[in-house]
């Protein structure tokens, strides 16, 4: 699903990633760990197709439509409601049963009652739940999750645990976290980045 060789990234003079090799087979679950500034986010952005490496190569069998990316920002519009945000993404991903899928995800992540509220009125935890709905909306083959537990309360985190355990069987997951113990049961491999 994903193979990287001698991957490196520079921003001007600053090198943020060097010599990364990774291979992630379909159905694999790779946990990326490392201190702040070790390049976890950059690596995940490259793997999702949002950034290009300056050194090395990356091969990804998943197309753009098959990637679900969760970054540090929720990638949703604050002035739109949860329903409007997901509807926009549903249209852009050309989902055939858009409304049903959106309804199901909002229910699952406990946002159904707040579906008509603007995201600006959401707490950080609710926004993160909505971001997870956005990521899962088009049932991506490759999930790239950067600190997905950020801002989630315990109930939200348990919901994500259950979701990841379910996805583990049929999807490929690349997840960066500062709390590897949390995802250890689901993980098939671990990549530790150093400064």
């Amino acid at each position: 699903m994903l193979t990287a060789r001698r991957l490196g990234k520079r921003y001007g003079e600053k090198r943020v990633l060097r010599g990364i090799d990774l291979a992630l087979a379909r159905g694999g679950f790779l946990v990326v760990t490392g201190p702040n500034g070790s390049g976890k986010t950059t690596l995940l952005r490259i793997c999702a197709g949002l950034a290009q490496p300056t050194e090395g190569t990356i091969e990804r069998s998943a197309t753009r439509a098959q990637v679900g990316y969760l970054g540090h920002e929720p990638l949703v519009y604050r002035e739109l409601t949860a329903l409007e945000n997901l509807d926009l993404y549903g249209r852009l991903y050309r989902l055939s049963e858009r409304r049903e899928r959106i309804g199901m995800l909002l229910e699952r992540f406990g946002l159904w009652d707040a579906r008509h509220e603007r995201v600006a009125a959401y707490s950080r935890g609710m926004t993160q739940r909505l971001a997870l709905c956005r990521v899962l909306l088009h049932e991506p083959e490759l999930l790239v999750l950067d600190e997905p537990y950020n801002a989630l309360d315990e109930a939200g985190a348990e919901l994500l645990d259950a979701q990841l355990a379910e996805l583990r069987r049929e999807r490929t997951v690349l997840l960066a976290t500062h709390d590897p113990a949390r995802v250890e049961p689901a993980a098939s491999g671990r990549l530790a980045l150093a400064l």
Binding site: A48, G49, L50, A51, Q52, T63, R64, A65, V67, Y69, G71, E73, P74, L75, V76, Y77, R78, E79, L80, E84, L88, Y89, R91, L92, Y93, R94, R118, R134
Partner: protein, 212 residues
């Protein structure tokens, strides 16, 4: 057809955002009307046709710049552009959707601005209004493209006018010409050619603006 459905969804989203936040259109309206009021009181009572036409185009360009400067603000604030870039739609649909929404704001501002201009200075001919309409297309096509480039930089507020104003000189030449010339046809043709040329360039190269 799916391409135009994507464009429609993206443009509709921008109109909805403006309806909610009311960040752009009221500012454009206030700016353009205030500009005409200032010009009205700071200039001689009856400026020449050419001078009055110049004033109109200064006001139109800077009003458009105000709208263009805010065009990608919602995408920048939440990094939503990453989400749109990852979507499987053609990336030029992002540019076209945003251009259409910006065009709607600019036209809405001009619906108020042009009668105010006619009231303070002189009535506009049909050719002048057609020139404004053609110029709007070019302004929005080029301005949205440059806005997407500028939004990725730290000096975005500075960069957008620096890139946009030189590229808008042909629009001013065509617009002023269409408003004052006895036979405005060639100026209107020039504006239409500018629109076509830059729309194709922006449409074809937008992908490289949003991809890192």
């Amino acid at each position: 057809m799916t391409y135009f459905r994507d464009v429609g969804a993206l443009a509709r989203k921008d109109l909805l955002l403006e309806l909610r936040a009311r960040d752009t259109l009221p500012a454009m309206l206030l700016f353009v009307v205030a500009t005409f009021v200032v010009f009205h009181f700071s200039l001689p009572a009856h400026p020449s046709k050419l001078a009055a036409s110049g004033l109109l185009w200064v006001a139109i360009l800077f009003t458009a710049l105000l709208g263009l400067g805010r065009a990608f603000v919602p995408e920048r604030e939440q990094r939503v552009l990453d989400g749109l870039v990852l979507a499987p739609c053609d990336r030029s649909a992002i540019w076209l959707g945003k251009s259409l929404a910006t065009l709607a704001f600019l036209v809405a501002a001009q619906v108020v601005a042009l009668p105010v201009y006619a009231l303070f200075f002189r009535p506009l001919s049909g050719a002048a209004v057609l020139g404004v309409a053609l110029a709007d297309l070019g302004i929005c096509a080029v301005g949205t493209f440059l806005g997407a480039m500028a939004v990725a930089t730290r000096a975005r507020e500075l960069l957008l006018p620096l890139m946009f104003l030189p590229l808008s000189i042909p629009i001013v030449v065509g617009g002023v010409g269409a408003g004052v010339a006895d036979s405005p046809g060639r100026y209107l043709g020039f504006l239409a050619l500018y629109d076509l040329l830059f729309a194709v360039v922006c449409w074809a190269s937008f992908e490289y603006v949003v991809a890192e």
